[in-house]
């Protein structure tokens, strides 16, 4: 009988004994150190990510909050990301919100069961974490990542895989090829402006400052093309992106040209 009681006690306690030996905390978590003890895998992935390497560091509590019971479901929501990534009206969030993914998310999120893991069977539309922490990988720089599009080379294959959860491979491959081409076109505009600027090293300080200001706008507009392509927002690819770059290019050209013409017009 005593043996049976002991066995029953063991069975009852087994969930707590299983794993690291500690039961999940029921009270509020105070520091990231407490999380790391039980979640070494996620910690390791996170260490490799931009969230760990860049300042300010975004640790566990930044996204998961301090209540263990809702730590996972809380961080699956887009609002866990938006506050640091430019706010609701910023280009990062707005390019997503105006995409069809973002629209569906906005309309349907209250009906989703957020306690479920981020898999295509559980969610009709992907939020930030679905793609950027694909299959729960806490290295946000591993798969779909924003800086992949900054480099002057095609996006890596690991990014292409994510979209195939829901979309046909031919469709998404063409989308990626198109996005690569779209970005390269944007860079061509930017390089054309740069070359024009390099050709007039003798510009005065005031002219240089005005042109630099236009270059800053160009940088933002190129970023919009990236966001538009990545988040599939036609409005960011186009109106906030390509035609805006056209305007920057012709204005930079105009300023350089005006300088040259004025120089010509001066009596020798």
């Amino acid at each position: 009988m005593r043996r049976l009681l002991l066995l029953m006690l063991l069975v009852l306690l087994s969930p707590a004994i299983h794993g690291s030996g500690n039961p999940p905390p029921k009270t509020a978590i105070g520091t990231d150190k407490e999380c790391i003890q039980c979640h070494p895998k996620q910690f390791k992935q996170w260490q490799a990510s931009a969230h760990a390497k860049k300042q300010p560091v975004a640790g566990c509590l930044a996204c998961h909050g301090s209540l263990h019971g809702e730590a996972a479901s809380r961080s699956r929501h887009d609002r866990a990301c938006v506050a640091c990534h430019g706010g609701v009206e910023g280009a990062v969030a707005h390019s997503y919100a105006s995409s069809k993914h973002g629209v569906l998310m906005r309309l349907e999120e209250s009906g989703y069961d957020w306690t479920k893991p981020l898999a295509s069977a559980n969610y009709r539309a992907p939020g930030c974490a679905y793609c950027h922490l694909h299959q729960g990988n806490h290295d946000v720089s591993a798969g779909v990542r924003s800086d992949a599009m900054h480099k002057e080379q095609p996006v890596p294959d690991v990014m292409r895989v994510v979209c195939r959860d829901c979309h046909a491979p031919r469709y998404t491959d063409r989308l990626f090829d198109n996005s690569n081409a779209l970005l390269e076109i944007g860079r061509k505009k930017s390089r054309e402006a740069e070359a024009l600027f390099q050709a007039v090293p003798e510009l005065g300080r005031e002219d240089q400052a005005a042109i630099q200001q236009q270059f800053q706008k160009m940088h933002q507009h190129l970023q919009n093309v990236r966001l538009g392509a990545g988040h599939q927002s036609p409005d960011y690819q186009w109106w906030h992106g390509q035609p805006a770059l056209d305007g920057d290019l012709l204005r930079i050209r105009g300023m350089i040209d005006e300088y040259r013409r004025k120089k010509q017009a001066l009596p020798r």
Partner: protein
Amino acid sequence: MSKPPRYFWIPLILSLILVPAGFWYVGWSKSGEGAGLYSRQWVPDAMFAYWNPKDFYKPVETITGKFEGEECVACHTAVTPGIVKDWQASHHSRAEKKVYCSNCHGNDHQALHMPTPDICATCHATQHDQFEDEKRFGFPSHALAMERALDAKHFADKPKAEVTACLQCHSVASKCDSCHTRHRFSAAEARRPEACITCHSGPPHPDDETYFHSKHGQLYLAQGDQWDWSKPLRKGNYPAPTCAYCHMQDGKHQVADKSIWKFGIQKVNPLSSGNEIKRKQWIKLCSDCHEPEMAAKNLTALDQERKRAWDKLFQAESVLKELRSDKLFYPSARQRPPYPGDAPDKLWPREAIGFFEGQSSAFYNVSPIERDYFEMWYFSNLGAYKGAAHGDASFVAKGHQAMDQSLKSINKQAEALRNLGKVQPTNIWLNGEYTDYNREHN
């Protein structure tokens, strides 16, 4: 009866030759690898298949055989579970006579097609007829969106990977899932304002921003999640209107018939006999919730805002036109790359100023002063219009402030051009990495 005079025959014979020749020429120019009027001057990007399936979609030929009904569902539950799940949640799967994959995509797996509006029309004929009827009212409209995009000069001219961005929205003419996303095709989804914002957002059409800033939009944001979206868009069903409530009243798939100001891109007479009918329709619609007098006053306020806007725009236009007639534009149309395939543009290079000369294509490869006018007209003016029409005072103020600024800047630049006079051109407008690429890749 006397013999017809000799000069009767000359125009008759000429027209007998020229009219068919004209038809033949248009037909010929539309028969190229691309689509639309300039179809011979460009080749499509691979993505065009999905945005304009009628012209460009080709099926994947990996699987052979003919499949129908549950056969498709059986395989695709494993291959594309999300799509099947969507379909299962849709009316298509719950209707008495189920609408299966094969009903819309065909049953030959080697020859599957993307469903175009005419396929949806098999069952939804009323909605499709209403949608087609938009063409009577011209552009802007959903039904003409693809056609007008393909025929735009800048579309033909720019690299096709770049203008794929345009087709994503202009595809509203080519497929119904722009508003009723696949594969749920929900009417309730399309009733909500978010269904429209993927395209109706940003500088030339900030419908997104202005609606959500308005009291209507604020009410929606505060309470919309609790409303019963299964109800039709009819008086009494919703406490505040959404995009579709006003623009697709009672679910009528026709967004162009009540349009008075045509997106704000051209000056119209709002009191013409045709527009008087539209005004009555608007007042009746607003009277679902408001007093008719209030609706009439709001329409008049919109007219006044438009008058103020067009006064400014015409001032800017006349400054530009004077510069053009004095040949002071720099770079002039001769000093910059022409649209490559456009014969008249090569023969008679001329700067396009204003709506009727096609300035909507002239936002690149133009001089800074022309770009300023483009932005004044296409961004600030249209933003102010949307603000006035949707009840967002902040966009009206912002738009008019920006127009005043542009007008000042245009006047200043015009003065500078006059002072500089006819100076030797520098030739830096004709070449560059993107400019060259744009000449070569269409």
